[in-house]
Amino acid sequence: MNDAPSTLRVIIVGAGKGGTALLKLFTHSPDVEIVGVVDLNPEAPGLRLARNLGVRAASDALAFIADDRADLIVDVTGDPAMRSLLLQHKPPRAEIMGGTSALLLWKLAQHEQNLRAQLIHTEKLASIGTLASGIAHEINNPLYTITGLSEHLQDETRLEVIREYIEEILTAGRRIADIVRSLNAFARRTQEEKVCEIDLDYTLDEAVKMAHRATVLDQVQVVTQYDADLLVRGKPDELLQVFVNLVTNAVQSMEGCGTLTLSTADNDDFVQVTVRDSGPGIPHNNLNRIFDPFFTTKEQGKGTGLGLHIVRDIVTNHGGQITAESTLGQGATFTVKLPASPQSA
């Protein structure tokens, strides 16, 4: 394989589950360029994802199979008619990987997806660790209302005072139940989660609530500038994880003091979310590395270095993009672009 090209250019044939899994795998692979994705079914999910990722997608098998830049054509259709079509029209030097070998590659891509899902879950649980002290605070305050007022109820005989205390105890109990519910929703495993319409404003507000727990001395002013009623299609828990991570990072960078601005905007086919902080900013050298796995500037035990890497993974898997901009001393801005839902207002 001495003459193997440094960048492998691949065409994926078949955009169902197998083709989509390969598309996601190749998108994350540094030395693989996807020349295009083909499926005879124009509604195939992989075609939509490819378009969102800026990759050529076609339902005409001959659209770019003859593209002579292709080194490899991976055919996951298992269709003998497709195989003979490919053999007839492929560029001379391109290899075809089909049948059992393509199936094996699909299995490996699925395995890699499972590992990624586990990694996403592990990072989420790790981030809950950094929220632990804030969670304790949020629970301990209403808990004190419950235990404290109960102690006073023991020697209280006035009916109206008893009623007042019980009402306050109930409110405090409900507040704790709410906190536990939102934590459970955040912590659950999302591997099997279905794609659905997601209300962005709600997701961002939830993220702010979660991130509020990440800081002890909370003097962060939150400014929201939402373009009304924006919907995106995706996995709700994964997108919540994206924004919890971005908002938590922003709050931590400001060391609990400053302004956090969340805004959404409708940009034709894309919905844009920006998370801006007024912290110290990110040095230019680090800006290129912040999405790399295990890159962290936090002190030991405060971060896994996987947060932003996973954020980018999730955004890419949703057919979106994430970028970071910063000038030292003037805070940092993260911009997430996600494909708009067809139902968006």
Binding site: S133, A136, H137, E138, I139, N140, N141, P142, L143, Y144, T145, I146, T147, G148, L149, E151, H152, E168, A172, V216, L217, D218, Q219
Partner: protein, 143 residues
């Protein structure tokens, strides 16, 4: 003798300031303390606590301060630093929702009298405040 400055000879058990942003937390603390015979002053955050104390010329007399940590505007750590400078002889008891060992150690070594984590048992609260009152009387005696 300025009003509220508690000695062994003054009536009542002394004056406590509660600094906490949660209404119900202040209520529970106030109920426990007033039933035990203390006079109570309340502040919703550090800034209000500092304001309640007043200026050097017209200082509010206090025996013990109960102070939360996480509060809006002026947080507990900033307020405690101020109280320690202005009222070096008034014991400060931290009452917080944060079970944070490092913060507790740092605060105790800075001279804070005790660090209680909510929910605080009523007897434990009253015992701690009573011990702080004793300490205050000792400090008063030394001056």
């Amino acid at each position: 003798m300025p009003w509220g400055l508690h000695t062994k000879d003054t009536p009542g058990n002394g004056r406590v300031m509660i600094v906490d942003d949660e209404d119900n937390v202040r209520k529970v603390l106030r109920l426990s303390l007033t039933k035990a015979g203390y006079d109570v002053v309340e502040a919703q955050h550090g800034g209000e606590g500092i304001e309640a104390i007043g200026s050097d010329d017209n200082m509010l007399m206090l025996d013990v301060i109960l102070c939360d940590i996480r509060m809006p505007k002026v947080n507990g750590l900033e307020a405690i630093t101020f109280f320690q400078q202005q009222y070096p002889s008034v014991p400060i008891i931290v009452v917080t929702g944060y079970p944070d060992q490092k913060m507790a150690t740092d605060l105790l070594s800075s001279g804070v009298f005790d660090y209680l984590v909510k929910p605080v048992d009523k007897d434990k609260l009253l015992a701690t405040v009573a011990a702080a009152m004793e300490k205050r009387l000792e400090l008063r005696h030394d001056i």
